[in-house]
C-alpha cells in the first residue's frame, strides 16, 4: 500500500516536462522570395539528362554486394553522373570539386560545390543528394539531384550569411558509403544544418497509393513530401514544414524521430545519407517521397522520367530552395 503514492508520483514526474517552444517564422518571408527564382521548366530536363547518361555508363564493381530483391547491385552506375553533375555546377559558375574517399573500385566520388557565405562563411548549410543510381534512376535519385541543381542555380542570385555546400554523394545505394566516409573523414565538422534528399519526384493522387512505413501510419494518398527530422533537427523540421505548407510551395508532412533517430522503431527513417549526420549530432532534415512505400518503380528499370510528377517535383524544389535560404539566412 505504501508504494502506491510513490509510484503515482513517479509516473507524474515521468510524463511531465515536455518542451514545446514557439516557432520562429521571422525568416520565412524573405526565404520564400528566393524560391521564386526557381525555374520549373529546367528541372525535368536535368532528370532526363541523368537518365540518358546512365544508360551508356558502365556498372560499378559490385563485389561484396550480391544482387537481391529490389537491390540490383549489378546495375548501379555513377561515373557518368559524376561528370554531368560536376559540369552542371561549373556551368553555373561554381568551382565543383570531386572529393574521392576510399580506394579501389568502390572508392566514393562525391561532387562538392559551395556558395560562400558573406558574414559567417565558416558556418555551413549542407544540401545533399546521391548521384549513383540503379538503372535510369529518374526518381531515385535523379529527381533529388535535379532539385538540388535547380536550387543551386536559384541561390546564385542571392547572398547568404552562411556558406551553402551542395554535395552529390556517391554509393548511397551500397550503404551510404559516400556520406559515411565524408563524415568520418571530418569534412562535416563545420556543418550547422543539413538537408538531404532521396527520391522527391513521385506522387500519386490515388487512394491507397501511400503505404505505411514499417508500422508508422501514413496518409492514404501519396501526394506529399516527407520532411523527417530528429531531436536535433526538430525545430528546423517544423520550420521547413510550416513554411512550405503555409506559402503553398509544396505539400509537406513533417515527422521527427525520437532522440538521434537511431531507435529501432525509426530505422526506416535512417535509410539515406543523413544517417551519420544525425548520429554525429548535426541538425539534418531528410526529404523523401517515401521511396518503395509509394513508388512502384523503386529500384526497377521502370524508374523513368515519364513516371514522375513534374509539378510535384517543381513544388518540392521550391520548398527546398526556400529551406536552404532560411537555414543559410538570405541577406537583404
Amino acid at each position: 500500500m505504501r508504494l502506491f503514492p510513490l509510484f503515482s508520483l513517479c509516473l507524474l514526474v515521468m510524463f511531465t516536462g515536455c518542451k514545446k517552444s514557439e516557432m520562429d517564422r521571422s525568416g520565412f518571408e524573405r526565404a520564400v522570395t528566393v524560391a521564386g527564382g526557381v525555374t520549373t521548366d529546367s528541372i525535368m530536363p536535368w532528370v532526363e539528362r541523368l537518365v540518358a547518361v546512365r544508360a551508356g555508363d558502365s556498372p560499378v564493381d559490385n563485389t561484396g554486394f550480391s544482387p537481391g530483391h529490389l537491390f540490383p547491385s549489378d546495375h548501379l552506375t555513377r561515373n557518368a553522373s559524376v561528370g554531368l553533375v560536376a559540369h552542371a555546377f561549373e556551368s553555373m559558375g561554381y568551382d565543383a570539386d570531386t572529393v574521392v574517399l576510399g580506394e579501389g573500385p568502390q572508392a566514393a566520388y562525391n561532387v562538392v560545390a559551395e556558395w560562400r557565405g558573406t558574414t559567417r562563411p565558416d558556418e555551413v548549410v549542407l544540401v545533399g543528394s546521391h548521384l549513383d543510381a540503379f538503372y535510369g534512376g529518374a526518381d531515385d535519385n535523379g529527381s533529388a539531384v535535379a532539385a538540388m541543381l535547380e536550387a543551386a542555380r536559384a541561390v546564385r542570385k542571392h547572398h547568404f550569411a552562411r556558406t551553402i555546400r551542395f554535395i552529390s554523394f556517391d554509393l548511397e545505394e551500397f550503404g551510404s558509403i559516400g556520406s559515411t566516409r565524408y563524415v568520418q573523414a571530418g569534412y562535416a565538422g563545420d556543418v550547422k544544418a543539413a538537408i538531404v534528399m532521396d527520391l522527391v519526384g513521385y506522387a500519386s493522387h490515388e487512394p491507397g497509393s501511400q503505404k505505411d512505413v514499417m508500422g508508422i501510419r501514413m496518409p492514404d494518398v501519396g501526394d506529399f513530401l516527407l520532411v523527417l527530422g530528429n531531436d536535433d533537427s526538430e525545430e528546423i523540421t517544423r520550420q521547413i514544414t510550416a513554411m512550405g505548407n503555409s506559402y503553398g510551395l509544396s505539400k509537406l508532412l513533417g515527422m521527427t524521430a525520437p532522440g538521434d533517430g537511431g531507435y529501432f522503431l525509426s530505422e526506416a527513417f535512417m535509410r539515406s545519407d543523413h544517417a551519420l549526420l544525425w548520429y554525429n549530432g548535426i541538425p539534418a532534415v531528410f526529404l523523401t517521397d517515401g521511396a518503395n512505400f509509394r513508388n512502384p518503380n523503386y529500384h526497377l528499370p521502370s524508374d523513368l522520367p515519364a513516371t514522375l510528377d513534374p509539378s510535384f517535383l517543381a513544388g518540392n524544389t521550391r520548398a527546398l530552395t526556400a529551406a536552404i535560404a532560411l537555414l543559410a539566412e538570405v541577406q537583404p
Binding site: 509510484f7 513517479c10 551500397f174 550503404g175 515527422m255 531507435y263 529501432f264
Partner: protein, 194 residues
Amino acid sequence: MSCFFIFIPAIQNLAMNKFFVFLSALIFLASTSDAQQERKPIEIQAGFGMLITQSVFSMQNGFAPELAVAKEFSESLAWQAGIRLGLNPVLPEAFGRLLVRQRVGAWQPAVGLELGTTRRTRFDAGKALLRETREAMQGTISPFYVAVHAAPLSFGIREKWRLSLLEIDFGTHFSHPGRTLRAQVMLVTLTRKF
C-alpha cells in the same frame, strides 16, 4: 500543424534518469520495510533463455545460458551477480542485479535493475551493405548496458529451491540510450539456497 511526433518514453534520457530515481526510492522503501534482519543464505542460480540485441541496421538473436550467485539483503531485497554466455556467437556478458521481491505464499515475483557489460552490438560486421555506416554508428556505443528485470512467475519450492519461468530483461546501452535495445527472455531459471 502538420508535424506529429513519435515518443518512446522508456528510452529517453530524461525518462531514464527519472526511472532510476523511482527505482532507488522503491528499493529504499523495500529495504527499510523489513523489521527483522537475519542471516540470509547464499543462492546459486542457473537459467537458460533467449537474447535479442537490436541496433540500427542490425539485429542478432541467440540462446543465452546464464549462471549467477545471489544473496538477499532482507526479506524483500536481493542482489545477484553473474555471467551470461550468449551463444551464436559465444560472447560472454557479466551482469549485476538489484531486485525487490514480494512473497505471497509460494509465489515470489521480483522486479529490479540490471547493469552489465557486453560487446553484443559489434560482432556482425560481415554483411557488406551498410557495413561502413553501421560500424560508424556503433563505434561510440559503450560496452555497458542497463536493463529492467522482471521475474513475474517465480515460485519457491520447499525451503531450498526456487523455480522461475519467463524472466524478462529489457534494456539499452548507457551511451546513446535507445540506439541499441536488448531484450532477453529466460525460459527457465532454477535457484538453490545454501
